[in-house]
């Protein structure tokens, strides 16, 4: 089994767990309070608002063979890959405005920055960027994979039960279109990284398992309580 197949297996399981968790099913079935839809939208914003920064980091650590792929991804995030492109952070702001949550914007930006600060300040577990890069890569790419498989369902859910118009859902629609390709490219990049940095299989799997040990989709799009409930921890 290639290392990307191993990673894809984890992504698949986590995506399924996300789409089948109570918190998501309640949203999708229109059973949640309006506040739960608002919280979900705000969490999506906070999770992805800094994505270009994470892609910039990945570009630094990616092997030469994969640099162009990540560069393309980064330019797309910034909305400069084509003439009439949209910066993804702007699409996320459109989501917040469309949901009538603009009054939360200052708080959301600040929370996203705090989250990034925590990530940066956490002591490093690994000795070099080789291991750290692989760990960060599999976590960042996990969202590409999940969104490729779930963003249409999420957009439809927000349209049906939160009444969001298409102009607010461009970020999700865009990901459902392009992330199938991105997800495949991401897996290719993971294989390239594995080969370029001479990981052995057990080492790579240990790092991947540590990086993906919690379902970040449930944790970030909902909260730690939903994550605990999905594991029957609370």
């Amino acid at each position: 089994m290639s290392i990307s197949a191993y990673v894809e297996g984890i992504y698949q399981n986590q995506t399924t767990a996300f789409l089948e968790c109570d918190a998501f099913l309640k949203l999708e079935n229109g059973l949640s309070d309006p506040a739960a839809y608002d919280a979900f939208i705000c969490n999506v914003y906070q999770t992805h608002q800094n994505s270009p920064k994470y892609f910039s980091f990945l570009m630094c650590v990616a092997p030469p063979k994969a640099t162009e792929r990540i560069k393309h991804n980064l330019l797309e995030e910034l909305g400069v890959d084509e003439e009439d492109g949209y910066a993804h952070p702007d699409l996320l702001e459109a989501l917040i405005h469309g949901a009538g949550l603009a009054h939360h914007m200052f708080f959301l930006r600040s929370a996203a920055q705090s989250s990034m600060r925590e990530t940066i300040c956490d002591p490093l577990l690994y000795a070099s960027l080789r291991e750290l890069g692989l760990a960060a890569m599999v976590e960042v790419f996990s969202f590409e994979y999940m969104l490729a498989h779930a963003s249409t369902r999420i957009a439809n859910m927000l349209a049906s039960h939160r009444g969001l118009g298409e102009e607010s859902l461009i970020w999700f629609r865009h990901h459902s279109e392009v992330d199938i390709a991105h997800a495949q490219e991401a897996l290719l990049t993971i294989d390239d990284t594995y080969a370029y940095y001479d990981f052995d299989e057990e080492e790579a799997k240990d790092i991947i398992d540590m990086a993906l040990r919690e379902n970040v989709f449930i944790k970030r799009y909902f909260d730690t309580f939903a994550l605990a409930q999905s594991m029957e921890f609370l």
Binding site: E118, C121, D122, P123, Y126, M210, M231, L234
Partner: protein, 376 residues
């Protein structure tokens, strides 16, 4: 300064993964956080970790003891950072009518220390100056199958931990330690913790078998306070024995020495009643040539992680240090900057006023399942 308000919050912070040992299966942290406010406007945070099977305390008993016994003792007293630890040994009683209230005491003591240090704009490192440039932490592996132990040991090897403790039971202890040794290689120091789960006969047999895996110590092999049996086991094995659940007080320490029953103490701040009582046990250990480790309770938050860091750096001669797992176990910690250890288990020294970490009140509120305010 005077304490004008004391708040208690019992937290339930979910874990990332289940943590098991022979006495308990945990999925969330259940720390009790004490927050004190002074008449000078300073706020201090403390933490206690009630464990019914260790100190006999529950969240409920901790709340009751703080409310009924400790709060009346401190609410009208002047506190100051100079000699604060000694002052609190007098002000905050260690036990009450023979019952053990160490976690409650630890929570109150550490909150008062934090507040008083902040009041004088100094840090815990000023009254407990570090003798080490950094603190090196052990990893801990939850009880499980040999396969799961191998996997976790292999992960700990990736982050280059030099000391690893394995939680073991009766049935597969030897296989689990063998798996860990295979994954970790020969250089890593392995300890085992039976959490009181073995009989004397089982302990002798298992420790004999574990000799080949070069286990450096065995923690709490027998039911707590079976001093005579512990002494017999000590005679029967060459693996040093460490007391944990058996060691709650200086009296316990004295009993073990009197029975020649122990080689090492596991001193955990909450279990032993806070900084003052823990320092007394360490002093006793040194005088009696007993080695010790600074331990931690599973699920401690940034408050006890930070205090534990200061404490371990100050005492300087602990053989092993545990704790500071932070978000390796908790889905979220309660400090702005995590005091979690990093590569090789290294935890940097913590500076700043008080205990040196900025506590996020919104996280305490988020995870609080019980809140109580006390005022004079």
């Amino acid at each position: 300064m005077k304490i004008i308000k004391l708040s208690i919050d019992a937290l339930e912070i979910p874990f990332i993964e289940r943590f098991r040992h022979s006495l308990k299966d945990r999925t969330f942290s259940d720390s009790v956080i004490v927050r004190v406010e002074t008449d000078t406007g300073h706020v201090g945070y403390g933490e206690g970790v009630p464990r019914p099977y260790v100190t006999g305390e529950t969240v409920h008993s901790v709340v009751q003891h703080i409310t009924g016994v400790l709060w009346p003792q401190i609410s009208n007293e002047m506190i100051h950072s100079r000699s604060i630890v000694e002052l609190l040994m007098r002000l905050v009683p260690l036990s009450n009518l023979g019952e053990n209230h160490n976690a409650a005491r630890c929570a109150v003591e550490t909150a008062l220390i934090d507040a008083s240090l902040k009041g004088d704009a100094i840090g815990l490192h000023d009254i407990l100056p570090a003798r080490l440039p950094f603190v090196t932490y052990s990893g801990v592996i939850t009880a499980g199958s040999p396969k799961s132990v191998y996997k976790r040991a292999s992960q700990l090897k990736r982050i280059a931990l030099n000391h690893v403790k394995i939680k073991v039971g009766v049935h597969n202890a030897i296989e689990c330690v063998a798996a860990a040794r295979e994954a970790l290689g020969e250089q890593v120091v392995i300890r085992v913790d039976a959490n009181s789960s073995w009989s004397l006969k089982e302990a002798i047999e298992i420790l004999h078998a574990l000799n080949r895996y070069r286990v450096s110590s065995c923690e709490e092999p027998l039911p707590a306070r079976e001093w005579k049996q512990l002494a017999m086991l000590r005679q029967a094995t060459s693996i040093p024995l460490m007391a944990d659940e058996s060691l709650l007080s200086i009296e316990d320490a004295q009993s073990m020495v009197d029975h020649q029953a122990i080689d090492l103490f596991n001193i955990r701040l909450s279990k032993c009643g806070g900084i003052g009582p823990s320092l007394r046990i360490i002093d006793f250990a040194r005088k009696n040539n007993i080695g010790y480790q600074i331990g931690a309770h599973v699920g401690e938050t940034a408050i006890l992680s930070s205090i534990g860091r200061h404490f371990a750096a100050y005492v300087g001669d602990a053989q092993f240090v545990e704790g500071s797992y932070g978000t390796l176990l908790l889905t979220e910690d309660i400090a702005r900057t995590s005091p979690r250890f990093g590569h090789k288990g290294v935890g940097r020294l913590i500076k700043g006023h008080g205990i040196g970490v900025k506590i996020l009140e919104e996280r305490i509120i988020k995870y609080s399942v019980l809140h109580l305010d006390l005022m004079p």
